[in-house]
Every structure is written in C-alpha cells, then in structure tokens.
C-alpha cells in the first residue's frame, strides 16, 4: 500500500510529468553527498550578503575584535565567492532553473545545498519555503548529508518558516529509524542512507557523521548559555541570556539606534561572526543582523526576544528526538532543569522590561513558552521515579501559566504517583489544599490536564501508603469528586472511572467493589461549580449531591448526544460501572441494597449540616440504574456498529443474575442478523461473556444462552474455540445446581428441529436461517461436532451419574427389558442424562457423517461411564445403529427412542463394532460373574485364589479395554458391576495389589496406562479415531495452561482477561496466563476425575488414588475462578469438598498443595493401600523401552511420571542451595546449606521438611525446586 501511495504521491506531486518517479539511486545520493561536501566548505560563506548592510552596522565595531572583523570580512568575501561558484559548478543548476519545481529527491537535495549557499537570501528563502522544503516532506526520510546545509540555514536565516522546516528536518534526521521520535510514513520510500553512504567509496555522509554536530548545535541553542552571552549590562535580561553589550549607539539621521552586540555566534574557519541587534531608541523598533551587513530581521524589540526563544524551544524540541542515548539524556535533563530553574519563579515576581510594561508582557509570554518547552521536553524524557529533583521540577510545573505545561507536569506527576504516591503527595503539599494550584487546574483550559489531575487524585486517594494521612487523601478525593462536574465529558468520564476503581494495569476486585460502594454512597460536598456560570445552577450545585445521581444524570445526557465518540465513551463508562458493580456483588460488599433510598445516604453522610435534599420522590440505586439502562438500550439504534458493540458489552456487564435476560438475548439476536458486525467485534463480545462469567459465576446459564445465540446465528464469524472454552468454563463454574441447566444451554445448539419427512439433507431450520453460505455451514457443522463431543464428555458430570456410583445392580437393568419402562425409568431418574442421550441419539441418526461419528463415540463414552439403565439403553441403540435394518436379528430389543428405526446405511458399522464389543464383553462378564456367584452361594464354598485371580484378570482386561475409549477412574471403575467390588478387593488385599498398580496390565505395554495408570495424573485415552483438532480444542478447553498454553483460544481469552481488552475484575491472571511447570497430566487431572475423597467416602474401592488429583483439580479451578470452590468434573459429591478440603478455600494457587499433600499421606498410611509399590524404577525403565502406539500423548507424560514418583512418598533428602524467603503462608524460609527432606514435588515446588524449625517456627512448607539440590 505504501508503494502504491508512494507512486500516487510521486505522480501527483511531481509537476514535471517527464520526471522519473524512481527513488534516488546510489549515484544520485553520491552526488548529493558530494554536494554536501562542497557546501560544507561553503559553510564558511554563511555570512554572505554584505551588500545590504544596515547603515548603522557598517560602522559597528567592537572594542576588542574590531580589527578581527575587518579581516574576517575580507576573508569571508573571498570564501563566499569561492563557495558559491564551487556550489554552482557542482550542482550545475543555474539560479533561473528554480522556477522549475524540483521533483526527485536528488534534485531537492541539490536545491537545498544550492539555496543554502545562495547569495540571494530572499529569493532562495522563498524558493525553500515554497518549493523545496514542502516537497522534501514527501519522502520518508531525510538524507543525513543534508544536515550541514540545514544547520547552515538554521544559522543564517531568521525567517520563521525556514526555521520551522530546518528544525523539523533536523529532528527527522536525529532519531534512529523506527526507534523513537518521528517515524514518518506514507511518503515516498527512501533508501537506507547510511548503507548508501557506506557503499559510496568516496565517503558519503552517514547519520553518525552528522548527528553529533546536530546535537551539539541544538544543545548549544537550547542551553543558550554561551559564556559570552552571559555578559550583560541589562540586569533585567539576565535570565534570558541574550543581550550582551552595548557597543555604542549611533545616530543615524534622526533615528537613534542602540546597538547591542550579541556576540560570537557562528564560528567559521576558526573566526567568529557577530550578531547584532540594533534598537531604535525612539521607536522601539529593532533589527537583527549578522555583523558584516545582512539584516536578517526587523521588528519590535520584544518580538526579537521571542524569536530567540522560538529558536531555543525548537532546538530543545528537536533535541528530545535524540533522547535515546544516555549522554544526550543526561544533557537534556541538565538543560531542562536549568531552564526550569530560571523560569519557575512565581509569576508575580514580574520584572520590568527595559522598554516599559510592554516588555514585561512579552517577558511573561516568553517565560510561559519556556516553561512549556521545558516541561514538554521533560515529559518526553523517561520518568525518574526516585529522583527528588525530577519530582520537584515536575511539581513546579503545576503552577505554570501555560496550560499545556501544566498538563505535562500533571501527567508526569500522576505517573510518578502510581509508583510512589507518598513522595508525590508530600511534594505537592500545599498545592492540593483549597486555593492551591491543583484547585486552579479544575478551571484550566486544557482537557488533558484535568484528566491527568483525575488520575493523580485517584492514585493518591487510593494509596495504601497514605493511610495514616486521611487529610491528604480527603483533599485529593474531594478534588476528584469535583471533577465529576467538569463540563468536558472526557474529564467527567475519567473521574467516574477513577471513582469506580478502574486502573490501567491490573484491576483488583476489592478496588472495584470499593469503587462501586463509593459511587453509590458518597456525596459531593459543596463543590464550587465555577464552570456553571448560571447563578441558580451554581447555588444548586453547592448543595451536597450524591455521586450516583450526578453520574447517572451526566451519563443519561451523554447518551442523548449525537456524537458517536461520546456515545461510545459513555457506553464504556457504563460497562466499567457494571464491572465494579459485579465486583461489589461478588465480594458481597455490605449494604449494596439497591432498593434503598439513596437520599438516605446523603442524609447519613451529611448529618452535620443537615441540608440534604429530598426531592420528594424516592430514588433508589436500582431505579437510577433502570432509567440509565433504558437510555443505554435505546443507543443500540446507533448506526455505528462499534457503538452498538460497546452498548451490548455494557448491557452484558450491567445484567445481574437475578434479572431476566430475555430482552438482552433478543437484542443480541437481532443485532447478530446485521451483516455489518465483524468477526473481531463478535469475538470481543464473546470474550466479554467470558469476563462476565469470571466476575459472576452465577450467570453461567444466562451467558451460555447468549453464547448459544452466537453459535446458531453467526457460526462462521465466531471463534469456535473461544465459544467452546466458554461452554467449558461455564459448565464447571455453574456449580452443582446449575450444571444441569448449563449443559442444557450448551446442547441447545444441537436441539435442532427433526428433518422434514422426505428431506434427508440434514439441514435444519437454523442452518437454513443462518448458515446460508458454505463457510458458515461448515463452521456450524464444526460447532455441532464440538457440542456433541462436549455432551458426551460432560453429560455424566452434569448429570452426576456414574457407573461407579450407581447403586442399581446390573440385573435390574436386564430385567427392564421393556423399552418403554426403561426409558421412563431412565428419564425419571435422571432427566439431564436422559435428555443428553436423546440428543446424542438424534445426532447419531440425522447429523452429517462427522457428527454421527462423534455422536457414536460420545454415546460409547456415556455408556461406559453411566450406570444402568442408561448403559443398556445406549447399548441397544448402538446395536440398532450398527446393524441398521437387520438389528432385529441381533437382538430382540426394540429401538425405544422414537426415532426412525430404519437407520440403515449409517456407515457407522465399522466404527461401532469395537465399541459394541467392549460393551458385549462387559455384559457377558457380568453374566458370568453372577452365575459364578450364584454357584458359589449355592454350593456355599469360598472363592479360591485361582478363581479370584481369573476374576481379577477379567476385571483388569475390561478396564484396559474401556480405557481405550474414554477415561474412567481405574481405582473405582468396576466393569464387572458393583457386585464384583467385594471379590476384587479381597483379591487385591490378598496379593497386595493396589487398584492402580497392575504390573501385568497390557496398557502399560501400550503406554496408555501411563495416561490412566494412577488417578494421580489421570488422562484419557481418547478414542483413536477422534478428530485431532477437536481433541486439541477440547484439551484446550479443559485445561488452560501447561502444555496447551499456546492454544489460540486460551491465549485470546487470557489476553482479554488480562486487560488487553476490557478487564475482568477478579481473575488471578498470573495463574491463568502461565504456569509453565504444569504438565499434560496435570491438565487432565484437574479437569477430569478426582477420586481421593470418594475413596474415603465409600471405602468400597481398595485403591488409593493419589492426592494430587484432588489438589490439581482444585488448583485449576480455584486459581481460575479467584479462589472460589468449585466442584470438579465428575465430582459426584461436590458438596463434600468444603469439608474434606477446608484448606482449599483459601484460594491462592499454592495454598492447597500442602493440604492436598497431607491428605495424600494419610491416604497412603491407611491400611487399605498398604505401602506404595516399588514400581518406580522398573516401570520407568519399561516406559523408556516402549513406544506408545495408541496414545500420542503417552510420551509426553514421562516427565510427569517422574514427578508422580517423587510425589508418591519417596522421601529424599537435599540441601538448600540459596537463601529463600517465603512469599506466602505455605512457603518455607530456607537458609543456604540447610538440610531438608524433600517430601514431594508439585509444579516446580518441593514440599520439604526441615530437621528443626526455622526462626519463624515453621518446619515444613513449599520451596522452589531450583533452590534445593537433591542428594
């Protein structure tokens, strides 16, 4: 694009159609460079035009360098004529040709050199201003070889426009390309000048050559403190440095001139040239010239001073572009501080100008310009937080008369205040008091200054370090509240955001909650309301006003604006308000009764003067909010889609869990029909849903319903991964009561109307409505697949139905052969699961082939995980599906779900047969077991060891088979049915087999066992033919860190939550964003099964599951949801968490590790598990020798196996390598060299025990792995 625009620019700008638009080649550059060299010699000619000398000047002599100058003049004359002729010869452009506009870069460059050396100043200046300089701006960058000419021009010209350009181009040469400063673009691309100069054998001019010269010159001008300038006889002008000595005055006809010689300004060839100012004593006119003849400028004397300062300011400004080197930086600090030192006096110490009051005015203008220049330069320099001089200078700026200077000063201070509020508050001192300079800022005519003031007040009023100085805090708080009355929306909104506790870096829930509390409770007392001129209004404004009412009124009026930016900003403020409100609710801030009359707060806050206003009607926060939201809703009619998006986000945030969301949902639904919505915007809203959920998990169902609208209406535009992640988090976060509904909400995506008779296209109503184009249809298809998979994976969790929890013996199911009864029994017992089943069955019939495959897999998962009668129901259905029309030959059972039974040609036969085989095996083994038991009972004989062994082997074999299809908790899962539990336990106890060992387990050989081996790190062996992407997506959805940290969806959500977008209030970002030590297994562990507490509860399972499964489940969830206690997936007894794991409520991610650990050790110590098997080394060796053919993830879990080993109780000793200071209650202080016992490792932390308690009295705790060497 840049190229095309470049061509356009070139074509259009070049007024000579024949000129070639090509960027300058190296040859032209070389030419330019050589020209530059020529002109550097012609530099000496700077003081060229002698012929037009002012009469007064011709006789000007200085007492000390009188003779010098005469000789200088003749030398210069000589040099000048040489230089001009040389320059002309070099560039071969006759003066006349200036009329022809130069177009190519080389020509422009030549012109600059030439014109700088020109004898006809006026003409060349005109040429420069009108043709050369403007054209030069078209190019991307400025050739360093132009610098000498520019510098020369800067010296000899006093034409303001020329000077503007000169400093502008110098500033463009200064910065490194792209690093800092001006990085102009869009113009015609230029080559890398330095590279070109390097190539040039003759030696071109590089940046390195010219930058020091430029810097030197600029800093001299900026300081303007050449010693000779200091000599002045006019004390009044002392601080301005520029008047030197009166040489003499001379009467020229009737005009008396006062000749001020400014001093040597330009050094040319070792000689100095003198500047002079000739001042007419009678008329106050003056002239500026260079000794030798040229009168550069004429005008009023006061303007002359301004001219000098303009130079100084420009030089300072240009200099800041090069502030990236430490030396320059240091110099700049000095210059700026120096200037500030001079100009920072109070304005009332105004001095009389030499020529009367007029000069005094000018003086103050100059002073304020200098203040502006210096403070702006300071603003551009890096902050120096610890430096008290820096702070002092910045604070000085608050009292400056220039509004922009005040703005920059306040910006600097407010940034400093976020780092060190105490120092800033102290430095501001009296300025913040009533009548101080900060109060004046309230009426300052600069919006951004007031914005910076709001930020400053916010930073100080919330600073913890100032807790013991409530007086200071109150001053700033009251300033902040007064800004709520600001006439500018920008300032008012900023003040609202500050009151609400929004911060740029990291939002904290407490801050937010406090913000909402303050907004709804606090009162703005007796503001001065000077901005309101109207007397009535101002008297009204003096009454104490509730912040909430003020804010609401203001926002409502903003929403009536026609300006889109105002609407957008107002909606954003409402969104932030919603965030703070949500934070307040989630923290349960006391007294957020929104039904209370707000006027009573005013009363209670205002008892001493008792003037609170009752306006007759009762205003509640709720009613105020309601009326605001009404206005917000109408804004959805705005034609700008971004405004609408912001409004919808605001509505989502302001939606409270109790209210009906029908209106919001329908609004979103109708919005989504608008094709103007971009994918990015829609995803932004989806991410907002995420953030909203994190703030208020109660809203899971509501949010899922809204997300569903996205899924069905705009499947092609939304990021499916993000949507799935939302489903997942919502389901997990919905809590025991909400998860049924949450699952329902997710699967509503599948709740498509059945296909019309005769139409087997599979396209449904929603498809037709929304997925008209192939891309959307495909996206919808993918969403449906994801939803089906989700349903299969999570239905059991949502329904709390597990085979291993089921009390129904298998015989019962077999007896319920009557299909209708079975369905009735199933749905009455667990409607959630029955519903899910029905949906999956429908999908298995009518979906596209991808959906059917996944539906079949999902059904298998459910069959394996569910108890009866669901398993048999699914079994029967799968049979029907596999056999199609001939199913009756296979079984007498009938399809019972009311669907079309003639599902022949489903194409799923090959896929289904292994699944059916597993179920077949399970059922036949169950039959055998029942038979055997009956035999034993009848014969009243004990089970022999061999029989038990056979039984156990069958159990293990079936477990392995089952594990191939989906994850089941090995220690609890009983493929032979609940009745087998006792016998298996007997056998295990007899042979010291823990439920999780199983050395003969074939799964070990295949590597799958590693994934599922111990419940410590459970991982599912996914069905091998499952769509890889889908699995990955779900792995992402299931775990938000560890191996899958790079998953785009998670990144997007994390970024969003971390504040790249709107800030989610209460997310523990560190935990969410990166926990690199988390392994794949951890990931699954925390999202899938937990078993430890269940073991304790039912005691039926003989195996001990490792503690970390619980720990990690809780880890992920608690860290994810800000420490709230959520049930994990598959948790059958979520309510027991609270009691069994009390320590986990503390919320920090590491807190639960010791508790998880201790529970594990209790479990290990229990008689059931006996000692841990010595499996570590042989198993590990075996792992190394086996490839894992089935599960791709097998290999990735080796390291976790080691982790597992170390966590399973092999106490190692070690010694501390370094000192470590505990950062939390669960951590342990270490001194280097201290001996410790390493109990286990968790996530890069060792849980260690010391031999004797440390100074803090702690004996055991967590330390980073790297701090301990294992011996």
């Amino acid at each position: 694009m840049a190229d095309s625009s470049g061509t356009t620019l070139m074509d259009l700008i070049s007024s000579d159609p024949t000129s070639a638009p090509a960027p300058p080649s190296s040859s032209t550059s070389a030419q330019a460079a050589s020209t530059a060299k020529t002109t550097s010699s012609s530099h000496q000619r700077a003081a060229s035009p002698f012929s037009k000398a002012v009469t007064a000047v011709t006789s000007v002599t200085s007492s000390n360098n009188n003779t010098d100058k005469k000789s200088k003049r003749s030398t210069l004359m000589q040099i000048q004529s040489d230089a001009v002729s040389a320059a002309r010869a070099a560039v071969r452009i006759p003066h006349k040709s200036h009329k022809k506009k130069p177009v190519s870069y080389a020509q422009l460059a030549r012109s600059i050199h030439e014109l700088a050396a020109s004898s006809d100043q006026k003409k060349s200046q005109r040429q420069l201003v009108h043709h050369v300089f403007p054209k030069l701006a078209v190019y991307n960058s400025v050739d360093p070889s132009l610098a000498p000419s520019l510098l020369m021009l800067g010296q000899q010209c006093e034409d303001r426009t020329i000077l503007r350009y000169v400093y502008y181009y110098l500033a463009r040469i200064l910065p490194d390309t792209g690093a800092q400063g001006l990085t102009p673009g869009g113009g015609i691309p230029t080559p890398n000048w330095d590279a070109l100069a390097d190539i040039d054998a003759v030696g071109g001019v590089t940046r390195a050559d010219v930058v020091p010269r430029i810097l030197d010159r600029l800093s001299t001008e900026a300081v303007n403190a050449d010693p000779e300038f200091k000599k002045t006889i006019f004390e009044e002008f002392d601080e301005f440095d520029y008047v030197l000595t009166i040489d003499f005055d001379e009467s020229d006809c009737d005009v008396h001139y006062l000749i001020l010689l400014i001093g040597t300004y330009t050094k040319v060839g070792g000689q100095s040239l003198c500047w002079y100012v000739a001042v007419s004593l009678s008329s106050n006119d003056c002239a500026l010239g260079l000794h030798g003849g040229l009168k550069l400028w004429t005008g009023k004397l006061s303007n002359l001073f301004a001219l000098f300062h303009a130079r100084r300011l420009q030089a300072l400004k240009a200099l800041t572009y090069a502030s990236n080197t430490p030396e320059i930086l240091q110099k700049l600090y000095e210059i700026v501080f120096g200037i500030l030192d001079k100009v920072a006096e109070t304005p009332d110490k105004r001095k009389k100008g030499i020529f009367g009051a007029k000069g005094g005015d000018k003086e103050s203008i100059i002073r304020s310009n200098l203040q502006y220049g210096a403070i702006s330069a300071l603003r551009r320099l890096p902050l120096d937080p610890g430096n008290s001089i820096f702070l002092h200078r910045a604070v000085q700026g608050v009292s400056f008369s220039d509004p922009v200077a005040v703005r920059h000063s306040l910006e600097i201070i407010s940034e400093l205040a976020t780092k060190d509020p105490y120092a800033v508050a102290m430095a501001l001192g009296k300025l913040a008091q009533p009548g101080g300079a900060l109060q004046d800022v309230l009426h300052l005519h600069d919006v951004l200054a007031r914005v910076a003031l709001a930020r400053l007040c916010h930073a100080i009023s919330r600073a913890k370090s100032l807790d013991e100085r409530p007086d200071i805090k109150n001053q700033f708080t009251s300033l902040l509240y007064q800004l709520l009355l600001d006439p500018s929306d920008r300032v008012c909104f900023e003040a609202i955001l500050c009151v609400l506790g929004k911060s740029d870096s990291a939002d904290r829930t407490e801050e937010r909650a406090l913000g909402w509390y303050k907004l709804t409770r606090e009162v703005l007392k007796a503001p001065e309301a000077p901005s309101v001129k109207d007397k009535d209004k101002s008297s009204k404004a003096r009454r104490p006003q509730l912040l909430i009412k003020l804010v609401m009124r203001r926002l409502e009026s903003s929403f009536r604006s026609f300006s889109r930016p105002v609407l957008h900003a107002a909606a954003r403020v409402v969104q932030e308000m919603g965030k703070s409100r949500a934070a307040a609710f989630s923290l349960g801030v006391q007294e957020i009764d929104e039904g209370g009359d707000v006027n009573t707060f005013a009363e209670s806050n205002d008892q001493e003067d008792g003037k609170s206003q009752h306006e007759g009607n009762k205003d509640t926060v709720a009613s105020l909010l309601a009326s605001l939201m009404e206005v917000v809703r109408t804004t959805v009619a705005c034609e700008c889609v971004y405004v609408r998006a912001m409004v919808i986000k605001a509505l989502i945030w302001m939606q409270s869990p109790q209210e009906t969301f029908a209106e919001l949902e329908s609004m979103i639904a109708s919005e989504l029909s608008d094709p103007a919505w971009s994918a990015a915007l829609l995803n932004d809203i989806l991410l907002t849903l995420h953030a909203r959920f994190k703030a208020t998990p109660d809203m899971a169902v509501t949010l899922l319903e809204i997300a569903r609208v996205f899924a069905t209406k705009v499947p092609g535009k939304i990021d499916a991964d993000v949507l799935q992640l939302l489903w997942k988090t919502c389901l997990v976060g919905a809590g025991p009561d909400g998860k049924h509904t949450a699952l329902e909400a997710v699967t509503l995506v599948l709740d498509l109307p059945p296909p019309q008779p005769g139409s087997m296209s599979g396209l449904t109503l929603i498809d037709r409505v929304s997925a008209s184009d192939p891309k959307s249809a495909l996206a919808l298809q993918r969403l449906v697949q994801a939803a089906v998979w989700f349903l299969g994976e999570n239905a059991n969790y949502a329904a709390s139905e597990y085979a291993w929890e089921s009390a129904t013996p298998p015989g019962t199911a077999l007896m319920m052969l009557d299909a209708d009864k079975m369905v009735a029994a199933a749905s009455s017992r667990n409607p959630t699961l029955a519903n899910a089943l029905t949906r999956l069955q429908r999908c298995a019939f009518i979906g596209s082939w991808e959906v059917r495959i996944i539906a079949a897999q999902a059904l298998t998962t459910m069959a394996i995980r569910s108890g009866e009668p669901y398993r048999i129901q699914i079994y029967e259905f799968l049979h029907a599906l596999a056999q199609g029309g001939v199913q009756s030959q296979f079984s007498d059972m009938h399809i019972s779900n009311g669907e079309d039974q003639g599902a022949s040609g489903t194409g799923l036969g090959s896929l289904l047969s292994p699944m059916l085989k597993v179920l077949d095996d399970m059922y036949s083994a169950q039959d055998d077991l029942i038979k055997d038991m009956r035999n034993h009972d009848n014969a009243q004989k004990e089970w022999t060891d061999d029989e038990l062994k056979k039984l156990y082997e069958t159990h293990e074999r079936l477990l392995d088979l089952v594990s191939l299809f989906c994850y089941v908790p090995r220690s609890k899962y009983l493929p032979l049915g609940p009745t087998s539990a006792k016998l298996i336990e007997i056998y295990r106890n007899r042979h010291n087999i823990t439920a999780t060992s199983g050395m003969r387990d074939p799964a070990v050989a295949t590597g799958i066992s590693e994934l599922i081996y111990e419940a410590t790190k459970p991982a599912p062996a996914e069905p091998d033919n499952l769509d890889d992407d889908l699995v990955n997506a779900w792995a992402t959805g299931l775990a938000d860190d560890g191996l899958w940290n790079n998953a785009p969806a998670m990144n997007r959500v994390n970024e969003f939550l971390a504040g790249a977008g709107t800030d989610a209030p209460d997310v523990d970002d560190e935990n969410v964003i990166s926990r690199p030590s988390m392994s794949y297994d951890d990931m699954w562990a925390k999202t899938l099964l937990e078993t430890a507490d269940a073991d304790d509860d039912d005691g039926r399972s003989s195996g001990s599951s490792s503690p970390d499964s619980v720990g990690s489940v809780e880890t992920s969830i608690s860290s994810h949801f800000g420490g709230m206690n959520y049930p994990s997936l598959f948790s059958s007894k979520p309510s027991t968490y609270g009691s069994s794991q009390p320590a986990e409520k503390s919320g920090t991610s590491r807190n639960r590790k010791p508790s998880g650990g201790s529970s594990s050790y209790e479990a290990y110590g229990s008689p059931i598990t006996e000692e841990p098997p010595p499996y570590s080394s042989p198993v590990h060796q075996r792992y190394e020798s086996f490839e894992n053919p089935l599960a791709g993830q097998g290999s990735s879990s080796f390291d976790s196996h080691e982790e597992e080993r170390s966590s399973s109780g092999n106490v190692q000793s070690g010694s501390a390598l370094y000192d470590f200071t505990a950062g939390g209650d669960d951590e342990l202080n270490l001194t280097a060299g201290e001996e410790v016992e390493i109990e286990y490792e968790v996530d890069g932390w060792f849980y260690v025990k010391k031999k004797r308690p440390g100074r803090d009295g702690k004996l055991a705790g967590l330390v980073p792995v790297l701090y301990v060497s294992q011996s």
């Binding site: 095309s4 625009s5 259009l12 700008i13 102009p184 603003r379």
Partner: protein
C-alpha cells in the same frame, strides 16, 4: 498515548502516516485495519463527522475531510473523546494549510506543509522506561 495518525485518500492509499510506539510488525495490520474501517464506514459520512471504533483497549476516531480520510489511534488518556479533540485540531490544521477541505490534489500540493504542521502538533511523548 497517541499511537497513530494516518491520512488516506478515498481509494485507501495512505498519504501520511505517523506511528508512535507501534512496533513495525503491527503497523501493517493497523494500516489495513484502518483502511478497511474507512472503506466500510466512511461512505456518505459528512465532512468532519466523527466515527469511532475500538480494538481491545485501543480507540480509533476517524473522519472525512474533503477527499481525504483521517484516522487517529490512541490508548490510555487518548480515548475516543480525547481523540475527538485531537482530530479536531488535525482537521483544523489541514484546513488552515489548504484553505478549505482538501481535494487529494490540493492535499498533495500542500503535502510538506501539512506534514510539518502535523508533526508539530503530534509531539510524541515517550513512554516511561
């Protein structure tokens, strides 16, 4: 801070662009994002009527002036409202230089002076390091 000022012609060719603190690799994205934004939304917009957009926590205010469209991108204190004020200054400066809402031709004729004014107005504040 003010992240970018971008001026494009009606075809979406970029005439002037100034980025402050935007990494080189992101500039291309911003360019195309802004140009697309303009192409989608600036049709039929009156001179100096402000349009707004946002991307994450970055705000964009843009408008049409004569035959050129002007985009301002900012964040932090330069939110949509501050950008509205800033764009007012930019449009006034361009009108001052050109004497009227510029055609593309006029804009290019006055290119250098516009650049000069723009760069004097938009004086980058370095982020605290």
């Amino acid at each position: 801070m003010l992240l970018a000022v971008l001026i494009a012609n009606s075809e979406g060719n970029i005439l002037v662009e100034r980025f402050n603190g935007v990494p080189g690799e992101e500039r291309l994205h911003w360019r195309s994002f802004l140009v697309k934004l303009g192409a989608d939304n600036l049709k039929g917009v009156k001179n100096e009527e402000l349009c707004v957009a946002c991307h994450k926590s970055v705000y964009i205010v843009y408008t049409v002036l004569g035959h050129v469209s002007i985009y301002l991108v900012g964040k932090d204190e330069y939110d949509e409202l501050a950008l509205s004020e800033a764009i007012f200054v930019v449009t006034s400066a361009i009108k001052d230089v050109c004497g009227k809402p510029p055609t593309e031709r006029l804009f290019l004729d006055k290119y250098g002076r516009i650049c000069l004014c723009l760069d004097e107005i938009v004086w980058k504040v370095s982020s605290p390091s």
